[in-house]
Amino acid sequence: MSIILDNSTKVLVQGITGRQGNFHTKQMLEFGTQVVAGVTPGKGGQQVHDVPVYDTVFAAVSKHKDINASIIFIPAPAVKDAAMEAMAAGIRTVVIITEHVPLHDEMDIMAYAEKTSTIIIGPNTFGIISPGQSKMGIMPNTIYKPGAVGLVARSGTLSYEIAFNLTSAGLGQSTVVGLGGDRVVGLSFTDVLPMLEEDPDTESVVLVGEIGGNAEEEAAKYIKQMKKPVVAFIAGSSAPPGKRMGHAGAIIERGRGTFASKVEALNNAGAKVASLPWEVPELVKK
């Protein structure tokens, strides 16, 4: 088992003929993901790595009625349109890899997702992976192994670092979810933690957060009532206020979202907070 994504998920790739879409479709297929169709307007009828391409999502889903998830590799200005298209066509899990999506477009996407009860992962995420089953995303195929740690992170490469540390320490993962680095993203810690808490194949949870926003503080409220052990790592202890550390969300503004407030909230909730990334596996094993 796993959350959101498993080996039965039928995946559509929006923007499949682009450089990124093409490359990662190959990676996903190699990992075992069931990529059943792709979409690029004007390229309908082509094939990419033997995956049929359609002009619109409606055309794809009318041909492949079992499509139940979509991953978007589309330039930022067109992401809102692509996400709306997926939702309007009835797809209820949408992973948006693209970075630099305008904030107002993100809010529009999330409002439509709320209305249609769609799970959005991202934008600006590495995606989601259930090792041994399937992945929708751009994470390297090699650093994960199946196991019982659920990992949820705001940031990409940092989560690779931690997954790599876990795997090296013999700790496999049930599902790894990247929430995305923007100020407005779809799933948040408080959405994913309950799924992991209920997933029978997840025994412990690792949360990788960062400064900015109050997602970690909100997560702490839920962690308080969790039965499964939670280990957390928060990036940005050294970041000066007012500077955006790459992610739109990772900024301490008006004194909110500091490292200290997050660590305190997580500690109070009973999570073990690692000071350094490589301490995470030890804390999980305890």
Partner: protein, 375 residues
């Protein structure tokens, strides 16, 4: 992108939000005439940091010649380390009451939020939570008049002020949408007699929406030349004040690398997220930017995924051959094509590490010895 107060007020005027009569000056030319026509004025230095009042960036004048002097004084000064390049001269208004009003984005509820308080004129952070009105906005319907009426009611506005406020807030939301804003803040919104005036304007627009900015939006850039250059390369780069030049691939891991440097007692000179999947050429250019800041040590933390270790190693080799790298170089290299990368670096005499732990420890050690050597 933050806008100067006077630019924000230009947008306000276009959206029928009333502001005090004023004019922006980049020299003293015309100041006397404007003040002669206006009467008592306030002269505000146009900088992007808050708190300019306490820092001496605001002056008052009752006569044209005093105003002219004040303008010149401000234009020759620095306020909060920023050289003042323009001043806004405005009629001085009588303040009956100050209100705080803002529209911003609340990431936790994924929508805009109207924030208001009867305690205006001070930093909203200093206002107790229970004195702050917060109303989320449904992006599908936007700020309809009913929502503005509810805010007006909670602010205890009456009669004509109530009606003016409703129009103002509805228009403020239109501005927020039209210009892709992250923040529109009026602090204070002033009740002056029968008028409601936006006495200040803080507007921040979303950098990611630059491709669709309306033509009438001014563009200002407070980044350093290096930051601009990095931005053009698609690199996220922020200058800091420490000693170790840092490069990593990914925002989170870059941030964590800075944290680890701190943990070991070092100081980072910059934040540089070279992104995922950067080519040899792009990595070489990023490295050149790093070198131009004259760091004492350079630390690269590369977790190969989409990024290939051999590409990164080749970039370092290239730069070393072309320009030379005059400072100690520490590289953490792991992941895709790791073995090739390590071999290439070894060929250049560059040591690499498998864990970030070892790499950072080494970098800080080298920093200490370089400082020790008086370099």
């Amino acid at each position: 992108m933050k806008l100067f107060e006077y630019m924000g007020k230009e947008l306000f005027k276009k959206m029928n939000i009333t502001v005090p009569a004023g004019q922006v000056f980049q020299s003293d030319e015309g100041v006397e005439k404007f003040v002669a026509n206006t009467g008592e004025v306030v002269i505000k230095s146009q900088i992007l940091s808050g708190g300019r009042g306490k820092a001496g960036g605001i002056k008052f004048a009752t006569s044209p010649d005093v105003a002219k002097m004040a303008v010149n004084e401000l234009l020759q000064s620095k306020v909060k380390d920023c050289p003042v390049q323009a001043v806004l001269v405005e009629e001085k208004i009588n303040i009956d009451k100050e209100i705080y009003l803002a529209i911003t984005v609340d990431g936790s509820i994924k929508r805009p939020v109207v924030i208001a308080s009867s305690s205006g004129g001070v930093d909203i952070e200093e206002v107790p939570e229970d004195k702050i009105i917060k109303i989320p906005v449904d992006v599908h319907s936007g700020v309809q008049p009913f929502l503005a009426r509810e805010v007006a009611r909670q602010l205890l506005l009456q009669g004509d002020h109530f009606k003016q406020f409703v129009n103002l807030l509805v228009n403020m939301y239109k501005l927020f949408k039209k210009y892709d804003c992250e923040l529109v803040e009026i602090n204070p919104l002033v009740i002056s007699g029968d008028k409601l005036l936006a006495a200040d304007a803080k507007v921040t627009v979303d950098d990611e929406a630059a491709f669709r900015y309306p033509a009438d939006l001014p563009v200002i850039d407070e980044r350093t030349e290096r930051e601009k250059k990095a931005h053009q390369l698609g690199i996220s780069y922020v200058e800091l004040e420490g000693e170790i030049g840092v490069m990593a691939n990914g925002a989170g891991i870059t941030m964590a690398t800075l944290d680890i440097i701190n943990h070991y007692g070092g100081t980072p000179r910059n934040f540089m997220d070279a992104g995922g999947g950067a080519s040899t050429e792009a990595t070489a250019k990023a490295l050149e930017i790093l070198l131009s800041t004259n760091p004492k040590v350079i630390l690269a933390n590369i977790f190969g995924g989409i990024t290939r270790c051999d590409d990164v190693a080749n970039a370092f080799a290239q730069v070393q051959e072309k320009l030379g790298i005059p400072v100690p170089l520490v590289i953490r290299l792991v992941g895709t094509n790791e073995e090739d990368g390590v071999r290439i670096l070894k060929g250049q005499g560059i040591e690499s590490f498998r864990t970030v732990d070892e790499a950072v420890a080494k970098a800080v050690e080298l920093l200490a010895s370089s400082e020790g050597s008086g370099e």
